[in-house]
Symmetry: D2
Subunit: 313 residues, 4 copies
């Protein structure tokens, strides 16, 4: 307890979530409640100073702790030819993990919602042909087991970042989980979402910044570039940037991808399509094979410049 001139400060010891804070705040005689310690523990660098390195797939692709990893592929899986040709092209350019959507979150119920299990099978085919591990999104608790079976990384999308039932469920799997940041999730909300997965027993979490929602509508979202060094400081988990969703326009993807690498991202996740003009989903923000290959070269060169940033005092 500290006595001030106008006020008195009372220290409260123990674990305090945002809700208890609110409740104390409206009690009689309480002017304000200020939280001293962080509500997330397992994901906090404070209690785990070394970087976490996540190992992906049988090939053991690494991300975090100085290991850089690019995830690339089509937004939606359309057919074997599209997926396998893209896998080979991105692999040749340096990508290490194949991304592809079998279950697609669509704002409208009338849009194409993905191939489902048939898409997952095509992912398995592409992995067999290239040796690349694969990542795909899971949108339903009922599909977690299925996706865990087929995919090397399980992705939780931005819209499900606070679907706590889904987070609990993927926390019980034995595959790495990529947690995308919600449209208006604070750093704390986001780390608490990771905490849900980790508290379930799965500590192989990769964070993904995919842009936040602001007043600016020219771009689909606003890439929060500050997130790269902030998350590195607050957490030991690897962080990946998704410039495809953070911008929504292909001609912004490469500059913003380079920026993310320069800011310290441990990886990128990029939409690539053999022919963006005919893509069934998100063609507007997909790179061609040529543009992706050029980006990979720039990104490699930038990494050489910025590793490591002196972001911790």
């Amino acid at each position: 307890m500290s006595e001030g001139v106008e006020r008195q400060i009372i220290g409260v010891v123990g674990s305090i979530g945002p809700e208890l804070q609110d409740e104390l705040e409206v009690m009689d005689g309480v002017s304000e409640v200020l939280r001293i310690s962080k509500p997330y523990k397992l994901s906090a660098r404070e209690f785990h100073p070394e970087d976490t390195v996540v190992s992906i797939g049988e090939a053991g692709v690494k991300i975090g702790g100085g290991e850089f990893c690019v995830f690339a592929g089509p937004c939606a899986i359309e057919d074997e030819e599209q997926l396998v040709s893209t896998a080979k092209a991105v692999q040749a350019a340096g990508a290490k993990v194949l991304r592809g959507g079998a279950f697609k979150p669509r704002t409208s119920p009338y849009s194409f919602r993905g191939m489902g299990e048939d898409g997952l099978k095509l992912m398995a085919t592409a992995r067999a042909e290239t040796g690349m591990p694969v990542i795909t999104e899971v949108m339903s608790e009922r599909d977690v087991e299925l996706v865990e079976r087929y995919s090397d990384v399980i992705q939780v999308g931005a819209r499900n970042m606070q679907n706590f039932a889904l987070l609990d469920q993927v926390g019980k799997t034995r595959k790495p989980v990529m947690v995308k940041r919600g449209f208006s999730a604070t750093y704390e909300d986001w780390l608490l979402a990771a905490e849900y997965v980790m508290a379930g027993g799965n500590e192989d979490v990769i964070l993904c910044e995919r842009g936040v929602r602001t007043f600016e509508t020219f771009t689909r979202n606003t890439m929060d570039i500050n997130a790269m060094p902030v998350i590195k400081r607050l957490s030991h988990l690897p962080i990946v940037a998704d410039p495809s969703h953070a911008t929504g326009k292909w001609y912004l993807v490469s500059p913003v991808a380079c920026a993310s690498v320069a800011a310290g991202a441990d990886g990128l996740i990029i939409e690539v399509h053999p022919n963006p003009d005919t893509a069934m989903s998100d063609g507007a923000q997909s790179l061609t094979f040529e543009n992706f290959a050029a980006l990979m070269q720039q990104s490699e060169a930038i990494r050489a410049v910025v590793t490591p940033h002196a972001t911790s005092s």
Copy 2:
């Protein structure tokens, strides 16, 4: 096709979602794509000019089309005594539906997450004792059947507004569904979430504005009061305001509740607790029985003044 001096306008007929818009936008020679018709159909007033009136429970409590309905009760269900005493108190003050949380969305995995099915049973007890229909939130696809069995209205929370698997699922139930607006969902996103439920076959949807996330952090969220007359114009569905979550502080609840009624809300959903200081969840924003009763009187008097607003030209 219209010829302008600097540009040419090409009209495209058919159903266009946000994604197709983006894809057309980056094609060669295309400067901008402007959508003329709305992507939601079933929820649009354009195709359904009369207000939808939703009927709740065996008692047939009505909301919409001039029928006003207050949902009130504790944030989290704690025990029979707490729930039943609150039910009786809010019923006496004029509330028509009992709210109570059995499954609680908590930002931190370490917070109290609700009583689960035991809580649902207490809701049934309270309904039996008072005759009031009940509303409770469902957070997991796996619990939809259970919640449908016990509850008269199924609530989808803000964090799950774009949990499309859950929306699909509740769209197959035969109970009215309350869809809360996501933290940063546009009116269009929100109506498309309602569209998911309606496209599944369940047209008894109630919208709930519970505040959006802005740069202002003094309040938990910012109530979007504009939403009341906007939604009335864009949609035929009833809209309810949740001043408890939109403010986060009990002393702001009554003024903002009155404001919502004055702006044309078809109902309110309010957190009430016998003893807010000891509540297990959201005590900070819960009203006492006395404050709730006073609010009900004000709200009734305001409704008499503003019904109906001349909001359609």
Copy 3:
């Protein structure tokens, strides 16, 4: 100084602005800096518990402390006929102060920017004919003296809320000042803007909430209805709501005006035009005489219901 298990708390006494807070925060060994006392003093209710009542013009029109006041008139002054006819109509309906823009802030340099001093002269004419005091915006330090001469209240617009040179200048006048909230100003920023005026020696400040900028683009801005009870609690200054700018569409103005009164606003500022379809500025959000008169009746009836809100514990 308080010893905790993981951390030590050091209390710092004295006046600390946001900048010093930032500076302490990055010092070695400092994890976080939490401010205990508020940076605004003159505008804080803490040090001035009773409501301020501002007196306007020779007629001594009052606002604050239970006195309600409506400011109404055209967005831009166009000619004598338009201004005087509007003045008479709004006065007959119950408005007490005439608003009108002589200097118009326009996003584009190519839009109509107001009649300037000729407009101020028309304001004086309208005042002479009706006895109503007048309010108009000042956009330039060079015009402060001129506007002070002609106008009974000096308005500082949202875009100039942090134009500190202008705030200093109006702080030296002897006329009440209305400070509109900036598009993305926090409550604290806003009260500090008022503080600038008051620190200059002019304590007759009226705050005006005119909507904040959010991700929602259907409406021009988002009315922050929470601001009414929040400002009443934090400050003793009167607060007025501007539903015309906060919505941008005439059909939303009346519902949102009623909501603002229900939430505890001390007044309204409303755009009214004899013929909104031909207005030179902001016709889209102007009410006709008939709609304004109807609103005044509703607003009076709502005030009777909600005075006073029990917003202080």
Copy 4:
């Protein structure tokens, strides 16, 4: 005029600002108004395809069109020793223009507000000793002439981005003007602010992205990294990034500065202080000489990688 099934499209020719758009939108029978052409002309790349190169000071330092320029120096000018030593240090590291604040915008009226003309004189001294041109902010219309006399670039701060009287005034000067983006200004608002300056006759405008205000409060602002490639596409004007204000914490400055260069910025503006811990303003976000020098090397190396980005199709 185009006939659709449900609607009819009417093309309107001529110059339409946001206000006319709103007015058309609420007319009877009008469902929506969509603007086809941009409201800014002088600043638009559409009508001026080649990059503008701005020349600064007698030395003719260039920015834009492939010329990169770093502005560096203390937030606030404190004394000759501080300013001159910083000037020499940043010049040695590669900065080309000296920044320093003589007039400081402070949220609170009680904070240090700068040395005023004495500060400008010290800027002149530092220029004489180093040959570096200087940039400083002007906050008052009354100071424009004074600042024009002493400074080689006139800076308009974020809070004054829509202080139209000030924009008009600096448009009449013969010195380059840096227009910082407002906290919640859209790209269009920002380009229209530049348009004000250009319409006044001064076409030497440099844009500066300094972060926007979002719901995230851990950082002072959120750097909008998308702005670099977006502005390059919409406008021919040079764009500079200010990572000091966009982050508010020194340990985030270098990563975000590198990101900005990687995204295509034509320059950086960085706060540097001999001893950040004792700075009178913004010490928290100031770099030491050593950190600045290290950043300059990284930034140069990144420029070599990314010039030019293929951002135009």
